[in-house]
Amino acid sequence: MLEESPTAPPRSAPEPKAARPPAEFEALFAAVATTAFGIAVRLTRNQADAEDLVQEAALLAFRAFASFEPGTNFRAWFFKILTNCYFSKRRREKSRPVTSDLDDTPDLYLYARSGEAGFPTQGLDPAAQLLDQLGTERVVAAIDRLPEEYRVVSTLYFMEDLSYEEIAQVLGCPIGTVRSRLHRGRKMLQKALWQVAQEDGIISHHTTSTGE
């Protein structure tokens, strides 16, 4: 039963009072639905689970809507419920083992590798030539390789320009934690993108051998 779900929204999950009309919720939800779905896809790693997650979070949020203060940040409030739902589902499943060779990624990884491989490192949008050869799903695949704590923060950051404060609010962690995970996650993501580009044959063989 949803009322008994451990995926409780922030602070309190009041008894359903339905004090406010569904249309009010729907209007607010509609404005964040696309981003919420994008985040859910990144979190769950597949579309069907993402749809279930968004649907579950939406219903949960609607039931807790009385606790939402009008005029405050609905986006952060809803994303918190969404991520809580996700973490709760994950706890119910067996945790996937985290194996990552991304931990030791040096600074400026893509910059250095791009230079070695003959991709542009200068100009107005120098990374575009490499990234434009990767489809959206391949960039998603790169994000999927990050350990979960970095994947979640990076997803929130890249999907919707959430501020550090909003991400901290969503995840219920200090801003400093958001900052350090984000900075580290970006480095890891650069290496993951390079790995994906290598696997796709975008990077030529002689550079592959130096690409770890």
Partner: protein
């Protein structure tokens, strides 16, 4: 040839790269980095490249749309929940 004391070094600038790109620095620090970038071509290349990576990833990730029937399903579920809660 030597760095004046009040001039930001490449190392100091680099340490602030992520915070600079996210505009998390104070106005004074932002200005310090901007001034450094005006005179340092190497750092400018690195900063521009990093900014370009971030922009590129964002551009890619935002090309996803919500399945239309998902919104309809959610709307129906919410209305049903609203009706049952108010009855």
């Amino acid at each position: 040839m030597s760095h004046p004391l009040n001039r930001t070094t490449c190392e100091e600038a680099f340490r602030r790269l992520d915070d600079f790109l996210d505009r998390r620095l104070s106005q004074t620090e932002m200005r310090m980095i901007e001034e450094h970038l005006e005179i340092c071509a190497a750092c400018t290349r690195e900063f521009t490249f990093e900014a370009s990576v971030l922009t590129g990833i964002r551009r890619k990730l935002r090309q996803l749309s919500v399945p239309p029937d998902l919104l309809a399903r959610i709307a129906a579920e919410i209305r049903a929940a609203g009706n049952s809660d108010s009855s």
